[in-house]
Symmetry: C2
Subunit: 373 residues, 2 copies
């Protein structure tokens, strides 16, 4: 993941991943909430804030993720952060000394990779297969790693959901190795099929999991709000560090978001987007099958905002993405999320922020472009 590959999630374009349907977000309601709090509540909260975040928001998040994700926690275990990235940075800096090893899924999320790199941790790429993170491979590679970073609900970028067996094996490893698991539950709100699957954190009997959530995808990215749920013994050390990183995040959005959750707007927006993204996923899968079925092996994800079309072994996904770009279609090659070579290449299709007409048009343009492969 060299420097030039870091911008994938911020790239604009037809199949940008991680981008929600912004035209569907109720910005009018949001404007009323922030205006009300700026006028009425903010003047009464003058002082420097506690590094854990606004109490009302922490309570609202605890209630929400208890219901939505089966996360077992109290508000005292929640720390509000600058997006998921702020949580990654805080966890890595607090738990790892420079040079200590950490598992990272391969392919995996560049934001977590970056947090490990800037903290001088030793990144250990661990393969992902159809059951998710390969725990046995991790044990062979680095049994004494201090931390494992994983996306169990919907692996980034492959979309695989981690099997129960793997979840239990990962928890076993962490308990035995006295290590930590960072569960990045970045887009789990959008589950379309399969049985509802609770967070890995809900299975954790030994208090080894730090759960990380983000509002960038479920609301909008410029909100820049995320959170972590820490085992009780870690809350103190995390807060002591956090105080001297960024202190806290702005209060206004925290107050507005607490109301947005408590008044039911978040749950309502998630339900609407789940339906919309489901339609868009189905449309994209249908079009890819119809137009590119002979080239791409599409893994239909049960959840999330993007999917992978795998290329035949031997075909270069960077070349494919380059052909697409020249035809005006932006699609990320899976290899750009790889720390070590992958068995085969693929293309990552974000579909949440693109309407069906545009999805159809882009797939047709892509099919034309990839004929040259």
């Amino acid at each position: 993941m060299p420097a030039s590959r870091r911008d994938a999630a911020s790239a604009d374009g037809s199949f940008a991943s991680g981008r929600p349907a912004l035209d569907q977000f109720p910005f009018d309601r949001w404007a009323r909430l922030v205006a009300r709090h700026a006028r009425q509540t903010l003047p009464g909260f003058g002082d420097y804030q506690h590094p854990a975040g606004h109490a009302a928001l922490r309570a609202a998040i605890a209630a929400h993720i208890g219901v939505a994700r089966g996360v077992r926690c109290t508000a005292d275990q929640i720390i509000v952060t600058a997006g998921a990235q702020g949580a990654f940075d805080l966890v890595v800096r607090t738990l790892l000394n420079p040079g200590e090893p950490a598992w990272l899924e391969n392919p995996g999320y560049f934001g977590a990779w970056g947090a490990l790199v800037v903290a001088d941790a030793r990144v250990m790429p661990i393969p992902v297969d159809e059951q998710g993170l390969d725990v046995a491979a991790g044990r062979r590679r680095s049994s004494n790693a201090r931390l494992a970073v994983t996306t169990p609900s919907h692996q980034f970028p492959t979309g695989v959901t981690m099997s129960l067996g793997r979840r239990l094996a990962l928890l076993d490893w962490a308990r035995q190795a006295d290590s930590w698991i960072l569960e990045d539950d970045y887009d789990s709100e959008f589950r379309f099929s399969g049985r509802p699957l609770e967070a890995l954190q809900s299975l954790d009997q030994a208090n080894r999991v730090i759960y990380v959530g983000s509002f960038s995808k479920v609301l909008f990215p410029t909100l820049r709000l995320g959170y972590l749920v820490a085992p009780p013994a870690l809350v103190g050390p995390l807060l002591a560090t956090r105080r001297y990183i960024d202190g806290y995040v702005p209060l206004l959005e925290q107050m507005a978001l607490a109301d947005f959750i408590r008044e039911g707007h978040l749950a309502r927006h998630v339900r609407r987007m789940r339906k919309l993204y489901h339609e868009r996923r189905d449309c994209l899968c249908f079009e890819l099958q119809a137009q590119l079925g002979d080239l791409l092996d599409v893994h239909v994800p049960e959840a999330g905002m993007q999917l992978v079309g795998w290329l035949p072994v031997g075909l270069d996904d960077q070349q494919a993405a380059g052909l697409a770009a020249r035809a005006g279609v932006k699609v990320a090659p899976i290899s750009q999320f790889a720390l070590e070579p992958l068995p085969r290449g693929g293309l990552l299709f974000g579909f949440a922020g693109t309407d069906v007409t545009e999805l159809q048009r882009s797939v047709r343009a892509l099919a034309d472009a990839l004929r040259k492969l």
Copy 2:
């Protein structure tokens, strides 16, 4: 500065330092600005943001500090951060390896101290005298330090303004040692007397100064917005690190603040507060002289939001602060900002956020309490 001393700036009470006159801030205007941007502008800024911050805000800050502080920079040199703390953390992490030495004023600011400590830097306490940071002492103590953290406009907490000779000596040292200076210009907007003094950055011919500003005091602390101005060669390295710390800060406040500055509201608010804080400073000085003139040696600051009353040599400032607290008066002992013992103790009086009636009442209560010393 052990853990129990870190909360000074967030302590509520009569003489809390760093707390502006919140009841004077135009929150109604702020509410209109955030509502307008949440409704009209935010929906069009959907994607993940550049780690330097919102372009319009960076341009507005560059123009403002050019006029107000003589800082010479372009918008490209500005990085918007999570308060001054976010800037300290970013600078320290980018420029220092673990174990490398950094100068910190003694007594000094606990936020900068914390940023150095959590980055495993080696903190070198350098004495402050009536001319500010003692550069010669710094050279003797650690001539090859990588960074010097300083508050030249209005030293925290003593209130001393750094002399021109010291400024030039500090810049000389940095150029010779190939080291960096972090200029924390935390409350310089409020200058009451003496000749207008530009930022240290304006004297820097060798691009060694990183200038840090905050809107916590000039607007309100829960806004959580600050910035740094980096020498051109440092902008790239700082942004590369920042991307993986917190990415960026929420966009809504950045857009509102850009308008607040451009439409002249910031300059107007600063003018009003300068007058108000001037009155409060004068009131506090008069009352301290009248009630406690035989005990406290008051340094009347030319700028800022707090002042120090020095105790006679041999009197314990923690004991004095304890007596005050028992009488319901919160005042911080200077020794809590010390990394090494100081020649004498003192009490830190924040006056910006307290009206004159309350200042008078608190000084009388304090005078009664300190009779027991």
